[in-house]
């Protein structure tokens, strides 16, 4: 059967290598062939989609656990392993990455300036993302994590928009400051664990002493949390997103922010269950503040991308809350939310990107009545907004359902607060939609054409994913559970 053959074939490394190969190929293409560059990167992105789908489909849910394992010694003296594997938690993440990359490439199809460098850097970024998601060795997780961060600087600073240099510098420094907490955390765990293996699961089996777990967990939580937009450390996200070009915002908000949450789950919570128990209260508190806070601040924004930035803060808060509950449903919901928020935000940014490319403004007061001239383009944003509001039969609804149920169970007050904030989020999403797309015809935008099919395709794909998993949540939920259930029982 398929998975048997696949199990022997190092498909994960292939996915990872394909991006690096893409990087090299793109760098070898001469400067004056931008079209070719785009085609090549689209091709490799499609390859990534196919491969990750293959992995996802042939992942054996009943068997569960780690599959497609590749593990061999990399550095002998301090015990670094090349250890990639897939379980229910990162399988959806791989698809998410592939899809967002694919749609991102399509979204940037009209890029003119320094095309080659752009796509090269984007592939570097994505290589890092893939690496983090599929690695099970602390060293590699960290390496790929940083690899996925530093290309953000040139990507934003060169191709960005409003206050790009400030935004780029702020984002890069802020996130790498986060990794400045992660590395000591990882090394600390490693050193306490005897200093001869970076293998995540071996360290987990060792079971570290409680006080170590507390210190290590808070470092890992804060470190990864910065990237996950945990409340007081979220201010990079709106600034960075506003500055970044469309595809970068898509990948960054859609995938990169998930790296943070994923890191908390995969590294922090796996290695330091007791530390988690010790800090869970704080996590829940920060997450709840983030949810409410993000929604309220979103109300006041006048820049479309700022609005999305703060909505991400709010939604990532939901992820954090789910993780903090330490229950099966909570973590299911958190992972599910990572996925659907990724798709949703990608949709948001690509829709805004199109509008911005055409109207050259993303200030809500200047826009208005766009639905008259570009109904389809607006429809994409509106659909994303509904998903953000948590309308049922959109994938994010299920995630929020799961998270809220377990949150109310574990932290009643905070859970109820979070649920109530749904009204505010609805208010601000609909407010943006109304101010931007409704209202009388705006002759300023009369001349603007609606989205051509080629550019509509990526958005259509994203919408399709949202609705599909909204209608058939089990297709993803069962996979996630297959990893979460044993995980929670191990806590």
């Amino acid at each position: 059967m398929a998975s048997m053959e696949l199990a022997s074939f190092p498909i994960l490394s292939t996915i990872l290598l394909s991006t690096i190969v893409a990087l090299l190929v793109i760098m070898l293409i001469p400067e004056d062939r931008p079209k070719l560059v785009k085609q090549v990167s689209l091709g490799f992105a499609a390859l990534g989609v196919v491969l990750s789908l293959l992995v996802y489909v042939s992942y054996d849910v009943d068997k569960g656990g780690l599959q497609f394992v590749e593990r061999f010694l990399w550095v002998q003296s301090i015990g670094i392993y090349w250890f990639t594997a897939v379980d229910g938690i990162n399988a959806p993440m791989l698809i998410l990455t592939a899809v967002v990359l694919f749609t991102g490439v399509l979204t940037m199809w009209e890029l003119e300036t320094r095309v080659k460098e752009f796509f090269a850097l984007m592939y570097l970024l994505v290589a890092g993302v893939y690496g983090v998601f599929m690695s099970m060795d602390l060293f590699w997780i960290f390496v790929w994590y940083d690899v996925s961060l530093f290309p953000m600087y040139p990507l934003i600073a060169i191709w960005g928009g409003t206050r790009k240099e400030y935004g780029a510098m702020k984002l890069t420094l802020y996130l790498l400051a986060g990794s400045a907490l992660i590395l000591p955390g990882i090394l600390y765990v490693w050193a306490v664990g005897g200093g001869h293996t970076f293998d995540l699961f071996e360290l987990q089996r060792m079971g570290l002493p409680a006080h170590v777990q507390r210190i290590a967990f808070i470092m890992l939580y804060l470190g990864f949390g910065i990237l996950a937009g945990v409340w007081p450390f979220h201010t990079w996200s709106p600034v960075g997103h506003v500055a970044a070009p469309t595809a970068v915002s898509m990948i960054h908000a859609g995938v990169l922010m998930k790296l943070g949450a994923y890191g908390i789950l995969r590294v922090g919570m796996t290695l330091c269950p007791e530390g988690l128990g010790y800090w869970a209260d704080l996590m829940a508190l920060l997450a709840t503040i983030g949810i409410v806070y993000g929604a309220f601040v979103g109300l006041a924004q006048t820049d479309l991308k700022y609005v999305i930035g703060y909505s991400s803060v709010s939604h990532m808060g939901i992820v954090g809350l789910g993780l903090a509950t330490m229950t099966v449903d909570g973590i299911n919901g958190a992972v599910f939310q990572m996925f659907s928020h990724g798709v949703m935000t990608a949709l948001f940014f690509s829709a805004v990107g199109y509008i911005y490319d055409r109207t050259h403004t993303k200030m809500i007061p200047e826009l208005g009545g766009l639905s008259n001239t570009m109904p389809v383009a607006s429809a994409f944003f509106i659909i994303a907004a509904f998903c953000g509001v948590g309308v049922p039969c959109m994938s994010s609804f299920w995630a929020e359902l799961l998270v809220f149920i377990s949150a109310v169970k574990t932290y009643p007050v905070r859970g109820v607060l979070a649920v109530i904030s749904l009204v505010v989020s609805a208010l601000f999403m609909l407010r943006v939609v109304q101010k931007t797309f409704y209202g009388p015809r705006n002759e300023r935008w009369e001349h603007i054409p609606d989205v051509p099919l080629a550019l509509a395709t990526p958005r259509i794909i994203l919408v399709g994913i949202l609705v599909f998993f909204g209608l058939f949540p089990r297709l993803i939920l069962d996979v996630i559970q297959s990893a979460v259930v044993p995980f929670v029982s191990s806590l």
Partner: protein
Amino acid sequence: MMWLFKDPVLAAACTGTWLPFLAMLVILIFTRRNQRLSAGISIASIVTSLICAIYLFTKLFHAGVPVQYEVAWAMTPDLYVPFGYLLDPHSLLMLLIVATIACLVQIYSVGYMAGDPGFSRYYAFQSLFAWAMLTMVIAPGMLQLYIFWELVGLASYLLIGYYYEKYSASQAGKKAFVVTRLGDIGFFLGLIFLMLGYGDLGILNINQAAAGHQIPGPLVTISALLIFCGVIGKSAQFPLLTWLPDAMEGPTPVSALLHSATMVAAGVYMMSRIFPFFAASPDAMAVALAIGTVTMLLASTMAMATYDLKQVWAYSTVSQLGFMVMGLGAGGYFAGVFHLTTHAGFKALLFLCSGMFIHEFHTNDMRVIGQSGGRNLKVPMISMTIGALALSGLFPFSGFFSKEAIMGVLAQHTNKVWLFAGLLGALMTAYYSFRLIFFVALPRKLATVPAEDHGHGHGADHGDEHHGNAYWAMAWPVMFLASVTCVLGFFQAPLEQFLTGGHAAAAAHGAGQEGAGHGMGHYVLLAGAIGCALAGLAWAWVEFGRKRAPQEGFLKKFPLAEILFARRWYLDDFYRKALDTLVYGGLTSLFTRNDRRVIDGAIDGICKLTVGTGRMTSFMQSGMLQYNLLVMVAGIGLVLLFFFI
């Protein structure tokens, strides 16, 4: 797919519910350009649904036990969300009603919306609405019900805000969504508590469990109250009733659809759906009763003060919903449901009629319509009168029977206040509905008519060119509904048998009430009710109907009251103010400032501080050779100190 055909009932249920969804997808993706085709697809799908509904109704009419199908929609160790169909008398009846109304409205819309630029979009939303509503009606579990309840809210948001160029329309849509969302939060929390407390949300299960007192009382009360918040939101009960009148911004057929049988009725339907559960908590019932009463009275007063055709019916809808909630709250399961049924009929009728007027005269002002010869439109005129009669609960129209039923229930209640409130409500209802009728039917040539023209922007561009078929496309549904309104009342007995037969618990409850209702007291009540209605009618006649009638209500004599009623008891202003001060002015600006100044400021401050420190430190590296040497020697000195101390 074979299993579908093995079980025709299931097949019918699936087709009936999912066909509109498919229709929506097809329209949105493929046939947006082609308006006629879109309309055709949508109508075909809804007609099919109607047929399925009828089929199910007839097939399961005598099947005593409810039929239930389930598949696991989402499943985790702690949470099980089934998707399926629960076909018991109540849901079947509602299914039938919804399908019928939706079908009629869509046919009617062919005429009403003809030539509108967004024709296809309109029908896509209609199908979406139909799908959500139908699936909600026959949901077997509260979670599924909640999910599609939300979708109904979404669809109504889209439909109300259909004329998105109009600020008021989009505003109204937003308001409807957010306000109902407010209620839904309570609903959602109630469900969560119930699930955490009891662990199952299957409608039948919780009904039996609550009736059998297997759920702890406090939990029942709390969750029932919270769930009732959902009813308050959806069915526009006090204090969340203000969104409904605004929702008249949508096209009239939409109002007919939303405010007669479907969206707003969903609240009452949900309440009656888990009636035994509510019944298990007297406190919750009392709250429901009180809120229903307040709502009914407030809405009636508001209805007296407006001159907008649709507004009047909107307020009447609110008050009738309040009336239903009263019925349910007083323990009259059948009474509430029956009034829901009849109300669906005549309210849709009323809206569609006024739609015809509006479509004809491009205005909502009843006085203008009257003077421009509204009465010449025979079909709507007559049907609207019928509707009004039914609304005010006069024999032999359907409204009469259902109102009687509710009155009967109220009469049973120990506290007679509710009964009198009900009677007062009946009085006012008759008054304002006939005030309207007389305005339209027997206009006086008034010197000054404030010609406030709510004419829809779309109305102008398509006038009478396809007047003919458009008119009849609208007339047929109207006439059908009118006839239904005339006869429906006489089916009370079989309906009661059918419904309460299904609900063992409710039967005992309801039948007890009804049974006691007959006899001497019943006739007094009957007389009282009809008396009130007639009194209201007469009053309206005196003020508006008869020759040389001033045609200005008694309210003119109480300007304060009129303003109060016209301003909807300042509820809107209250919300507006609360929103501005609390949300926008308060938390939002506070958080935003905090975000800019405190949090972000701290970050930037740290960066500036670092750079500044660098600049300061760099003075250590002065150009003067010997100072540098001094630094070095001093360093060594410090190191020595470090060792010696």
